[in-house]
């Protein structure tokens, strides 16, 4: 019987390479989601900023506040919001006075039932006007323009609207921006 030949270092290396080829390779499974996450984060930041700058984000329609429909296409601008629902008038989200079915109580008006000036609203709007003028004095890029945003319920009687508009006019807010739902057809909903 012939004697076996001794293995050299090269044989050892060859054997190692051969065995390694048969070994299972550790798999890099799963999709690389880092670029997707980057995109998502950028989208999120963009949307949060847009959401924060949108003045209409706080309009919530419910049974007490149903905004009318209009064919107007004028984009919303940022102004002090005055909300007239069926049961209250709110300035900048704070309730100023209560309404009964959209009607102002005569005791809240100067001159009673025939009066037009709603005293609590007048006081609040004067305060807002003074604040806006103070800001305008400090920052020339934000002048006091007398603009006000009116978010009123579609069923509000004109008498109440006239009283609110008159009171706003007395508080130096002369430009009304009525917020409406967009519709394409005249008189549509």
């Amino acid at each position: 019987m012939a004697e076996q030949e001794k293995a050299t270092a090269a044989d050892v290396r060859r054997i190692i390479r051969k065995k390694k080829k048969r070994m299972p390779h550790p798999e890099h499974h799963g999709l690389n989601i880092y670029p997707m996450m980057d995109m998502m984060t950028i989208l999120l930041v963009f949307m949060v900023m847009q959401f924060a700058s949108s003045s209409a984000a706080s309009i919530t329609q419910n049974e007490e506040l149903r905004i009318p429909y209009s064919t107007s296409t004028v984009e919303l601008s940022e102004n002090t919001p005055v909300q007239i629902s069926r049961n209250a008038i709110l300035v900048d989200g704070e309730q100023v006075l209560e309404l009964r079915n959209g009607v102002v109580d005569p005791s809240s008006k100067q001159g009673g039932g025939n009066g037009f000036l709603i005293t609590p609203l007048f006081r609040e709007m004067q305060r807002v006007a003074e604040l806006k003028k103070l800001i305008a004095a400090q920052n020339t890029r934000r002048p006091f323009d007398g603009n006000v945003q009116i978010i009123a319920d579609a069923r509000t009687p004109f008498r109440t609207l006239a009283e609110v508009v008159y009171t706003l006019g007395q508080s130096e807010f002369k430009n009304m921006r009525f917020i409406v739902n967009k519709t394409r057809s005249l008189g549509g909903s």
Partner: protein
Amino acid sequence: MPKKFTAAQRAYIKKHTTYHEPGPDETNDELNIVPFLDIVVNLIMFLLMSISSVAFYAQVEASLPSYSRGGVGSRPQNDEKPLNLNLTVVENGFILAGSGGKLAPGCQDTASGSVVTVPRTGSAYDLPALRTCASRVKSEFPDETKITVSADPLIEYRFLVQAMDAVREDDEGETLFDEVLLSAGVR
């Protein structure tokens, strides 16, 4: 013919070819960001829905009439009388009036007394007829853009908005009377 390996060579081969499962610290994986991604996707959905609802709103602009003091210097130089177009929403229709008087139904002539220019048809206001009437007035006074809008005390705000829509532009999108002055006084 197979070669003969020494004990040292066999040990060396075994050492370099033994497979072991990589531990958590040896793998290439980093922080698990999948839950974070879930939150971000949900937030984006919520914000998208909120922003799309904002797109459904618009605004209607109106101002209060400004009263200037009279005087010789402030009078207009030309002899043309201002139109002073007024639109009043009443229970049974729309009344259009100018400095010449109230417009009669049909919008051709003026009339006196309690006349309604565009009567209500059934339960609904006749908005197309009001638009036609406003177009006719505009063709007579092409430079006029102002209109003073008012209503009866019990008229709902939505009818006021509809009336403003009808006189703002015609069916072709041409501007009629887009400068709305809101009269705070009621009849």
